[in-house]
């Protein structure tokens, strides 16, 4: 059973990582904890659900979910964060503004869904299982791992191999210096928020498909997990978010499988506390700082 549980943990963890990537991207670039990230995730799942319900193919629904997540996240930036940034009150005010945005989007989804738990229609994705060396894996799980790997590779390429990514990192390092060098921060803000939302939107679809559940509050437990992932991985670190997401998924799965019931959260948060005592900047936090210093 251990191999099966490790596989389950890695798959759950890969979705945590996908969700947390957008969260950490916004924090790393703008130093904003976007607490509306859970509702962006949910809006992606809702968009895909209604697309599938209207007869559109799943792949198209996934693209739509990413667009919807990206747009919702950018609208939050435009309506909530940008006005605060222009007044120089971005840190705590943005936290409150994102809570407000989260409540508004969740309430809207509650109205749309009539508070019901929705699910993709039966047969949206083929239910097929394969057994490899005694480990049972579904086609959906394979697709999830592939999608997360492709998106992660795309994000890393974008951030570290394109001029857009350089601009994002420049604004993240020193917004004023980047502006003097001709980088438009607003373009960078658009890119980071859109990418963050798009990743969350896709994570929403994958979770909706995996666990047969689309609900207006579905983002809240994932937001809590994302906190753990980004703090554990090192705030703003993409690699850290991926490693911490996978680690969290595996730890959570193993605690459910092998320890007394109901202890999962207590163990996860205790481990987080211990790791932070040893490495206050998270698993990859100091490495990132050192890299940034070397670049400067």
């Amino acid at each position: 059973m251990i191999a099966q549980q490790l596989l389950n943990g890695l798959i759950t963890g890969s979705v945590y990582a996908l969700f947390a990537l957008g969260f950490t991207l916004v924090f790393g670039t703008h130093k904003i904890l976007n607490l509306a990230h859970g509702s962006v995730f949910m809006s992606g799942a809702f968009a895909a659900y209604f697309a599938v319900l209207n007869g559109l193919p799943l792949w198209f629904a996934m693209v739509l979910a990413m667009l919807c997540g990206g747009l919702v996240c950018y609208v939050i930036e435009l309506a909530a964060f940008r006005p605060l940034r222009s007044r120089g009150q971005i840190e705590f005010a943005a936290l409150i503004a994102s809570i407000g945005a989260n409540l508004m989007i969740s309430s809207l989804a509650q109205r749309i869904s009539n508070t019901k738990v929705l699910r993709f229609p039966f047969g949206t994705f083929p239910v097929q299982f394969y057994t490899v060396m005694g480990v049972r894996i579904s086609l959906l799980q394979i697709v999830i791992v592939c999608v997360v790997a492709i998106l992660l590779a795309g994000l890393l390429f974008y951030m570290y191999r394109t001029s857009f990514g350089r601009q994002v990192r420049a604004v993240s390092g020193n917004e004023r210096a980047a502006r003097l060098l001709g980088v438009s921060p607003n373009v960078v803000f658009f890119q980071t928020f859109f990418i963050s939302g798009a990743l969350a939107g896709m994570a929403g679809v994958l979770i909706g498909l995996s666990f047969n559940s689309i609900h207006f509050l579905m983002g809240e437990p994932y937001l809590l997990r994302a906190f753990v992932v980004v703090v554990l991985g090192g705030l703003g670190s993409i690699t850290g978010a991926v490693v911490a997401g996978l680690l969290l998924g595996v730890i959570q799965t193993l605690t459910v499988a092998y320890l007394p019931t109901g202890l999962s959260d207590a163990i996860i948060f205790s481990l987080l506390f211990i790791i932070l005592l040893v490495r206050p900047s998270g698993l990859f936090g100091s490495a990132i700082t050192a890299t940034a210093a070397r670049r400067q």
Binding site: M1, S210, P221
Partner: protein, 375 residues
């Protein structure tokens, strides 16, 4: 001209006299119309609306008298429920409260109702309601009654010898029901392979499902709300739970939400229910037809519960006439005995702890419907 004025005055006087005689008896309905328990609250309120319309059409509270409902949403939120209870308790026209819905919210609401000395007939079956004071009444039967019924069926009819229990941990009523089921079946010699906990809003059961499936259990008992249970069943089956494993559940799963989320995976689930699907008796069938005509769907467990609950409350108000007060209603509600109802065994009685007794039905999911389980 003078004659006309005199006639108008007399007519006005007669009209005002008749208006004075026609009384309006107000009940505040505070249920979870949104939030996690909306799938219970919404049909419950629909059933109450139907009952009030019937009571008023038949003038059951006396000629010209009407039963008025003020419907409020507690949003499955304790603070909201307490605020609504206090607001309506402050209105002298409100004679009693029906709600709140779920345990944690209902305990807070019943506590507030006792402080304000107004009856709160809550939906949950948690024994904690009785401890809030004499104004706290329950609409659902105590856990031991329900769990003894399904436990007995599991042992005697399904013949189970071992079982895995999976119960919601963050709702006291579900914890009590899991415990009551465990107590009953272990007293009959059933071995509990594992007792696992989940949270009401959980969706990822992959680790738990793999663990349970690896035990090849004869039976899995689940204590959870309908969408959560349906999702759990799907994931258990996807993890390789043998098709021969008996799935056993409780009354909160007897909802359309079970099929909407679970589809074909929930076929063969045995559960204890209050309502006989389709109606059972002639009155039940008439109710089912009226409910479908009015709301466009077949009633699940909660529509008839709402209907029956408001009828019980109306009976307590009727017995308190002509001068119905909150205290008279409380006394008469506590004395309800063998009142005809649509669910369970057909007769509703309050025991000395203000817990209802009305019997149970064992159901099974067959072809996407709840039907009476074979005896």
């Amino acid at each position: 001209m003078k004659k006309a004025a005199l006639f108008a005055s007399v007519a006005g006087l007669l009209l005002s006299m008749s208006t004075a005689r026609a009384a309006e008896y107000t009940v505040a309905i505070i249920q979870s119309m949104s939030g996690a328990l909306a799938f219970v609250g919404v049909p419950l309120v629909d059933g109450m609306k139907l009952a009030a319309e019937e009571i008023n059409a038949k003038q059951e509270l006396g000629p010209g008298n009407t039963l008025k409902l003020i419907i409020e949403d507690d949003e499955t939120n304790r603070a909201q429920a307490v605020s609504l209870v206090k607001r309506h308790a402050a209105d002298p026209k409100v004679l009693a409260i029906m709600g709140p819905t779920t345990t944690a919210v209902a305990i807070a609401g019943a506590q507030a109702a006792n402080e304000e000395k107004i009856v709160a007939l809550v939906t949950t079956n948690s024994p904690e309601i009785a401890k809030t004071g004499p104004y706290g009444f329950r609409l659902s039967q105590p856990p031991e009654v329900l769990m003894e019924a399904i436990g007995k069926y599991s042992v005697e009819k399904l013949g189970i010898k071992e079982c895995v229990l999976i119960g919601v941990l963050d709702n006291a009523a579900y914890v009590e029901q899991t415990q009551a089921y465990q107590d009953y079946v272990t007293s009959k010699g059933v071995k509990i392979l594992a007792r696992e906990g989940i949270k009401q809003g959980d969706t990822d059961f992959s680790a738990l499902s793999a663990k349970v499936a690896s035990m090849n259990p004869e039976c899995v008992f689940m204590s959870a709300i309908a969408p959560t249970a349906a999702n759990l069943i799907i994931q258990l089956k996807q993890a390789g739970l043998p098709p021969t494993t008996k799935l056993v559940g409780m009354s909160s799963m007897t909802s359309a939400a079970l099929f909407e989320v679970g589809g074909a995976a929930v076929e063969g689930l045995y559960l204890v229910g209050d309502w006989v699907p389709g109606g059972g008796s002639e009155q039940g069938k008439a109710f089912a037809a009226a409910y479908k005509k009015r709301f466009g769907t077949e009633p699940d467990n909660w529509g008839p519960m709402g209907y029956g609950g408001l009828r019980v409350m109306s009976e307590a108000i009727r017995k308190s006439l002509p001068d119905a007060t909150r205290d008279k209603i409380r006394e008469n509600l506590a004395q309800i005995k063998d009142y005809p109802t649509l669910f369970g065994g057909g007769k509703f009685t309050y025991d000395p702890q203000r817990a209802p007794r009305y019997g149970t039905n064992i159901l099974v999911v067959k072809n996407g419907q709840f039907v009476l389980a074979p005896n």
